[in-house]
Symmetry: D2
C-alpha cells in the first residue's frame, strides 16, 4: 500500500476540517447518558447552542444528518395536505421540497434565479397573494451549499414578520451556522436546522433544530406521524438533561469543544474571518479568468462554486487535483454536475491553508488545461495581506 | 474541581466500554464521503457487516440510534392499518410497539411472561390462528435489555418459516448482535436491527438493519411515508459505495476497527466469552442471596437484571456504587424501576474487569444494607478459574 | 492475529497505567520549543513541578529515563575520587551505586536489611564516623521498587541535617513521588530524582531533578565531565523558559495534564489513596498465606513484593497470570529473581481496578498451585468497604 | 482566552509536523517493557531501523535528544586526550565539538566555508597529514541544520575509506535521515546519530545510533566514563529484545508507525520528494530577490536558510509571520542570528502545505518591508506543476 506524505486538503463545503482538539475531545470514554455527568454536559451544551443560534428556546439535537432535521421540521409542525412554499435555490432546496412532497404536503415550488438569494419582495408578494393563509410554511435555504449563494435572511425574516402571515419560516442553515451571521430569534425564523460537519467543525452525525413559540404552537396540532423525530419527547427529556433515546455521546463531546473554540474566537470574528477568506477566494477565481456561479452580493462566505468554461468537465479538474495534490473539492450537484467545482472555505481554516488550497486549484486548472492564467494565488495573497489583522 | 483517580467502570448494558483502539480509529480526519477512499471503506464495511449479521444481503447503516432503525423497519415494509404482533417482553419491546401504533399500524400486543423468552409454541399458535394472513409483521426482541431475558430466536425463526405464514419476522438485536449467537439468514429473520453501542463496542450514533428478500418485496408496496429512513435510497446509493446523505464518517472508522477486533477474536469465541462472563455474574448474584430477574434458561449473556429485596430501592444501590466506587450500572426501566439494577457484561470485557465490577456491586450492596452476604466475587472467581482457557 | 477482549491490566510498579486524559494531551501537535507558546508551558510546568516536589528551587527535566537523572546527580555535584555512601537496599540502590563506581567515585556500600528502610540511627553513626567529611554524598532510595520497602526519608533528612555533616543527601524518588509523602525542601534533601512513568502517570521518557542550594554550590566545583546532563545549561536556558536542546515536547504536554489531575485530587488525598490501596493489597497477601517481602512499617504504599513459597517460581506465576488473565505483574529483580512477584498499586488507580487485579493474582496463584487459599480478594474488599470515603 | 482558527504551520527544520497517525499510535496504552509484546515491538523496530539507516548492524535507541547520542558516540569509542577533527560547518557542528572538548578530547577544529559542504579533498589532505594516526575520529554533520548546507557524505566516506586511515567517521544525520539519501554501511560511516523529530516525523525524545564493526572495536578499549549512554548494555539487552532501563515506550509506538509510513511511500520516493520541495522553496527565495545561504550544489533538501538584506532583522520577520499567519519558522543560530530565517521543508509534507507556507513567508516579507517582490509562490508553483508525478 502506498502512502501519500502530508496532510490531505479537505476543501469541501462540508465536511470541513475537524480540528484535532475536537477529535481528541471525541476520544473520551463514552459515559452513562442517564447519569449526572451527562446531565451536566447536556445543560452546558444547551447554553452554548442557544448562543450560537441566537435563541432563547431549546435547541434540539438529533443523532442524524441534517437531512433528518428537515424531515423533523416538517413532520412536527404540519399535517397531510398542508401547503408549503419552496424556492428553486438549488440542489438542497429541491431535496427539502421533495421530502415535503413525500410526506403528502402540497409543495408550491417558486421559480428562482439560482445565482441570487431569495428575493424579499417576491416573498412579500407571495404572502400577500395568500390572504386565506393556505401556506403553512416557507422553506428557505440560508446558504445553498450547491451553488454558493446566500440569501439575505434578515430581510426575508422582516418581510415575513411584517406581512402578518402566519406561515412558519423554516430555515436550512446547514452551511451558514457558525460561519455566516444568523440570528434565529431576532430575525424571526421559526425553525432553523443545521448539521454538525460544516461551521461547527465536527464530523457528521448530529443535527440541530432551533424553534420558536409559533413553531411549538404548530407542533401541538400537527398530525404527520413521527416518533424518532418527535420534538415533544426531546423537549420533555431535555428538561431532565437527557434524551428520549441513546444520544451520540462522543459527538456531543466534540460539540462542546467546538463551541468553546468558537466562543474563544468570538462569533463576530468568526463571521468576519469567513467573509475575508471568501473574498480572497473570489479574487483568485477572477484572476484565473473564471466565473463564480453566484452573483454579487449573494456570493457565499462559506463556499464558492466555480464555473468551468464550456467544454470543460469540472469533475475532471477535481480528479486531477485529487490525484496530483491530494485535495478534495466539492462536486457539482444536480444541474451543475460537471459545470462547477466547489471550494469550501468554512470551519477551521486560516490564511495559509486557504492559500495552499487555492494553489492546488490554480495548478490543477493548469494541468487540466482549463485555465492557464496564473495569478489567482497572488490576488488572494494581495487581499489577505491588505486585510491582515 | 475534584478528580477521581482511575478508570470509571461503565457496566451498563450499553453503551458498553469503547476500546481505546476504536476511539483512536474514530479520531482519524473526516474524509470526503463522495470520494474514492470512502468508497473503499464502504465496501469493506459491507463485507464485514454481512459477516457479523450472518447475511448475504446488504446491511443498511443509518446515522441514528437504534430507535430510528425500529421506525425504519416499519415504515419501509408496512402500510397504514397493517396488523403487527408485539410481545410484552419488557420496556424496549413495548417502545417498539408504541412506534408502530404511532404510525397507524394495528398493534396486537401478546401477553408474555417477562422472565421468559417468547415461546415458539405460542408463536406457532398465533400464526395458525391467522389463516387470512392479516398479520404483516412480528416484532421480536432477541435480547430484551431491560430484563436480561433472551428469546430462542432460532426456534422462533423455525416456527415462523414452518408455518408458511408470510408475516415478516422483525428482530431487535440491539443488545445481542456481536455478543449472542444470531444468524440472520439461516434463522429466517426478515429485518434485524441493531445499534452501535453494545456488542459492537462503538459509541452510540449508528444503527444497522439487515434485510431479507421478503422484506425487500414488502418494501416495494409499503406506503408509510419515509425519506430519511428510506431503504431504497440507501440501497441505490450503496451500490455506488455511498450514502444518500452525509454519513457519520468517523463512527464508521470506529466500526471498521471494532469489526476487525471481533474478527480477530472469532465470533464463536466472542459468544462463548459472553456466556462465560454471564454465568460468573449469575453465580455472584446467587451467592449474594439475590435473584436474577430472568428465569433459566432465558438469562441473558449480555445483561443481568438483579432484583433487590422488597423495601429496597435499586436506584439507591446504584447511587451508592456510583459515589463510592465510580461505577455506572443500569437502572430499572418501566415496571422494574427501583426493583432491579442491571449489570452489563457485554462488549469489550474480560475476567478481571468483570470481577472488579462484581466487587463493586458486592461492596455497594453491603454499604447499602441490601445484602450483607459476601461470597459473590468468590463464586464468580471459582467459575472463571474452572473455565479458564 | 488473535485479539484479547478487554483492557490489559498493567499492575507493574511502573510504568503505571497512563490515564486516557494524559494520552490525549500527548497527542497534541508538537510546537516550536523556542517559541512563546512553549515558554508559557515551561513556566507553568515549573510552578507545578515545584509544588509536587515541595521545593522552591527549579526542577530540571531531562528527556531521559530516571537512570539518566542518577548519572546527572553524580556528575553535576562530584569530582573523581569523591566518596559516596550507598545502602544495600535492593536492585535499584545497587544500580545507582554502580553508576557512581563507573564514574570513578569511591563507593562505600553499607550493609542493609533489604526488608527494612535505611535506619536513621545507622545514618547518624555513619556521619559521626566521618569527622573529616570525606563522604560527599549519601545515596538513598526513598522507595526501593524492587523490594517494596520505603525508607523514612523525613527521619533520614533530620539526622543528616542535625549531624552538621555537609554530605549531600541524594534521593531516588522514582516510585514514591506523587504517591508517597515527600517534601524535598522541608525534609532536607539536596538532590531528588524521579521518572515520569510511576506516580506521575506518564509514559516513560522524562526524568526530574529537584535541587538545593547546597547541591548548586557543589555543582560549581564538581569536575566530572558532563554535557547532556549539565545542570547549568538547563538552569540558564530555563530562565528563558527553554531547554538547552530539543525537549520531549509531547511528554511535557502529558506532564501538564497529569499534574493538573494530581492537583485536582489533592496531594494529601493522593497519598492517602495509595496507603489505603496498599493496605488492601497486603491484607489479600496475608489471606493467601503468603508473605510480603517488606517488614512493617516499611511496606510500601506503591508496590508490594509477594514472596512465593520455597520451590515455587514467581515468574511462572506471572506467566500464568499474563496468559490466563491478561495482567502484567512485576518480576523479581536481582537476588529476588523467581522468589517474588511484585504488584504495582500506584498512579491512576481505584478500588475496583485493584480488586480486579487482586482477583487475577488470587486465581493465578490457584492455577499455578502456589496458593490454593482463597479469601484474599475478600479481605481486600473488607478493608476497602470499611474505609470507603 | 482567544483562539486562532485553523492549523498552525510548523515549518521549522525540526520538530517537523508529526502526522496524526503517529500521534494516535503514541496514544496506545503503555505496556510492560519487559514482556513478550514489547519484545516483538523491539525486534520489529530493529528490522526497520536497519533498513532506514542502511545498515546490517544493531541501531541503538536512547530515550534522549540527539544531543545525547553525540555524547554517546564520543564516550563509547574514545579515551581522554584522543584527537578528533571537527569542521566549522555551523552551529550544530560546533556544539558537537564542544561536547568533545568537555570530555577531555583534543578537538582539532578545521576551518570550513559554512556555505559549502565538507570538502572531500580537504578531508583527504587532512588524513594524509596524519601518518601517525593520532586522529581517532572525524565529526561530520551530514546536513547542518543551522545553515541548510549538505555535505556529500558518500564522497567523504569514500575518501576516508580509501585513505586507509583508521579514524572513525562519525556522522550527525539529525536533519538528513529519512529525508536525504544516506547509506550508513555502504558509505563507510562508523557512527551515525539521529533524533526523532525531523525526517522520522516523531515528537522529540528519542535518539538513534548506527554502528560499524570498527566502532564496536573502538568501543571495547574506550575509557571515557559512561553508564546511561553505554553501548554494551544496550547491545546486550537488545539481544533479548529489551533495554537496560525503561525505554520511552510510547515514542517507540510512534516510531513504528512512522517507519511503516516511510516504507509505504518508499525511501527513494521520500528522498525525491524532499529534493523537489526544496527546489520549489529555493525558486521562491530567488523570486523574492533574496539569497539562500547555502551555495549550490550544497543547498539542503530539508531546510533552507534565507538571508535577509543588511539592516533587516530576520527574527522580526519571523515574529510578523507568527503573529499574522500563525506559522513558526526557524531562527538564525550562532553567527547567523538575525541574519537568516530558516524554512523547514522536511518530514510529513506535501505540495499544498509547502505552498501555504511559502505564501506566509512571501506575505510576511511584504508586511515586514523586507522584500516587496512578489512571485515567490508563483515560481514554486511553476516548479511543482512542471514536476508533478
Amino acid at each position: 500500500m502506498t502512502h501519500k506524505s502530508g496532510r490531505h486538503f479537505l476543501q469541501l463545503p462540508g465536511p470541513s476540517n475537524v480540528p484535532d482538539r475536537v477529535l481528541r475531545a471525541m476520544a473520551r470514554p463514552t459515559i452513562d447518558h442517564r447519569g449526572p455527568a451527562f446531565r451536566d454536559l447536556f445543560f452546558a451544551l444547551q447554553e452554548e447552542l442557544r448562543w450560537i443560534f441566537g435563541t432563547q428556546h431549546p435547541v434540539l439535537v438529533f443523532p442524524s444528518s441534517a437531512t433528518g432535521a428537515w424531515e423533523a421540521a416538517l413532520a412536527n409542525t404540519l399535517s397531510p395536505g398542508d401547503a408549503v412554499v419552496a424556492f428553486e435555490q438549488g440542489f438542497f432546496a429541491s431535496r427539502w421540497a421533495q421530502v415535503a412532497a413525500r410526506f403528502g404536503l402540497e409543495v408550491r415550488l417558486q421559480a428562482q434565479d439560482p445565482r441570487r438569494g431569495v428575493d424579499p419582495q417576491a416573498m412579500e408578494a407571495l404572502l400577500r397573494a395568500d390572504p386565506g393563509h393556505e401556506i403553512k410554511a416557507l422553506l428557505v435555504v440560508h446558504n445553498e451549499t450547491s451553488t454558493g449563494v446566500t440569501t439575505d435572511l434578515e430581510a426575508i425574516g422582516r418581510v415575513v414578520r411584517d406581512s402578518g402571515h402566519p406561515a412558519l419560516l423554516m430555515v436550512d442553515a446547514v452551511s451558514s451556522l457558525a460561519s455566516i451571521e444568523l440570528r434565529h430569534d431576532a430575525w424571526g425564523a421559526h425553525v432553523t436546522v443545521c448539521g454538525s460537519q460544516k461551521g461547527l467543525m465536527l464530523p457528521p452525525g448530529l443535527s440541530f433544530t432551533a424553534l420558536s413559540l409559533a413553531a411549538l404552537g404548530a407542533h401541538r396540532s400537527a398530525s404527520l406521524p413521527r416518533t424518532y423525530w418527535d420534538w415533544s419527547e426531546q423537549l420533555t427529556a431535555g428538561e431532565q438533561g437527557s434524551f428520549p433515546y441513546t444520544p451520540a455521546t462522543n459527538l456531543l463531546y466534540g460539540l462542546r469543544e467546538a463551541l468553546s473554540m468558537l466562543c474563544a474566537e468570538g462569533l463576530e470574528t468568526v463571521w468576519a474571518r469567513h467573509r475575508r477568506l471568501a473574498e480572497a477566494t473570489r479574487r483568485a477565481v477572477g484572476a484565473w479568468g473564471l466565473d463564480v456561479f453566484a452573483e454579487d452580493p449573494w456570493a457565499s462566505a462559506t463556499v464558492t462554486a466555480v464555473e468551468v468554461p464550456d467544454g470543460a468537465d469540472a469533475d475532471a479538474v477535481r480528479s486531477v487535483i485529487l490525484e496530483a495534490f491530494d485535495m478534495s473539492l466539492g462536486t457539482g450537484l444536480g444541474f451543475l454536475k460537471g459545470r462547477v467545482f466547489r471550494i469550501g472555505h468554512l470551519g477551521d481554516l486560516n490564511d495559509l491553508t486557504l492559500l495552499g488550497a487555492l494553489a492546488g486549484v490554480e495548478m490543477g486548472l493548469g494541468l487540466s488545461g482549463v485555465s492557464r492564467t496564473a495569478g489567482g494565488v497572488q490576488a488572494a495573497m494581495d487581499h489577505l495581506s491588505e486585510t491582515v489583522t
